[in-house]
């Protein structure tokens, strides 16, 4: 008798639909309700800022990118389908905005990944890093040493809990590439942590 494989858990790939409250808030903002849009900013800024900070390694640049991202959200919100999840859409705009900013700053000949790799791992919010626990500092060091592609994929998958499909959509890369980058990112993260914890 052929053994029957148990079905793969769907939690990792099937994203939850948007909540009714989120969809209602987006519809109000789409209708021109300024308070609803302010609420959207208030809700999502605490998630967007850390992402851009860890991707850029520069607090000032992360603030600029947050502002630019929300302006683009405002411009294009009417075209967004409120039945879909807002988070992947928001993060895709953020990723594209960051890419454009890096190309403008470093020129078209320098890939974004190389520009990111030049960032000083200790640069982001140094005062906070000094105050944080030691393992937090080491975790940050290990994360910031990762290739930007792996760092971004890991963040979107494990910090923002996006599905693999959504990560592929946000980063505008094929699904198989997402899988590869996440696997390589985890390997690299393990190596970095091993190196940091056992110098």
């Amino acid at each position: 008798m052929t053994p029957v494989c148990p079905p793969a858990p769907q939690a990792a790939t099937a994203p939850a639909p948007p909540s009714t409250a989120e969809a209602a808030l987006i519809r109000r903002a789409q209708a021109g309700d300024t308070r609803a849009f302010s609420q959207l900013v208030a809700d999502w800024l605490p998630l967007l800022y850390p992402f851009l900070l860890r991707m850029t390694g520069d607090a000032e640049q992360a603030e600029d990118l947050c502002q630019e991202t929300f302006i683009k959200v405002f411009r294009h919100l009417r075209g967004f389908d409120a039945r879909r999840r807002f988070k992947p859409w928001l993060f895709r705009i953020a990723v594209n905005t960051a890419k454009s900013a890096f190309r403008a700053r470093h020129g078209a000949l320098v890939p974004m990944e190389e520009a990111f790799l030049d960032a000083d791992p200790a640069a982001p919010d140094q005062t906070q890093a000094l105050e944080c626990r030691l393992n937090g500092e080491l975790a940050l060091q290990a994360l910031m040493r990762l290739d930007i592609r792996y760092r971004q994929a890991l963040w979107l998958r494990y910090q923002e809990e996006l599905s693999y499909d959504e990560v592929a959509d946000v980063m505008a890369i094929p699904l198989n590439t997402v899988r590869t980058w996440i696997r390589r990112g985890l390997d690299a993260l393990r190596r970095e942590l091993t190196g940091v914890l056992n110098p």
């Binding site: 800022y49 105050e131 942590l193």
Partner: protein
Amino acid sequence: MTALPPSPSAHPSGANDGPESSLARQVFAALPPALPPSSLAERIATAVDHERQQQRFSRRRLWGAVASAAAVGLVAVAVSTLPGPHSHAPLVSDAAAQAVFAQWDAEYLASQGESIGLIASASVPSDDWLGLDAMPTPDPLEPIVGF
């Protein structure tokens, strides 16, 4: 210190990524907090408000341009429907009639042996021809009497 979880057994589908996800989540949980500055939300609100005003201004300019174009179009249509010399058709027929009449004059004078100077002066279209809608079209086979 963070104790590392066992080596990840990465499943390409991402469905069974328990061990590897625990490593990543452990790292992210240990990161120092990165709260946005309190002024950032206000700064974004100001920028969005500026964007909103620009959009309104652009919409007003667009509608103004559309209204102007519509008004000009209406005037043009109204003028073109007026009868008389303002409409295109009579102007065209007047010009054509001038040319035809001048050619007949020249041919007639030449057949009568008149001088080149007289023929030239008679064959130049004159402004007097304009607006003479009631003038009968001469028969090219008959000489113009009384010229």
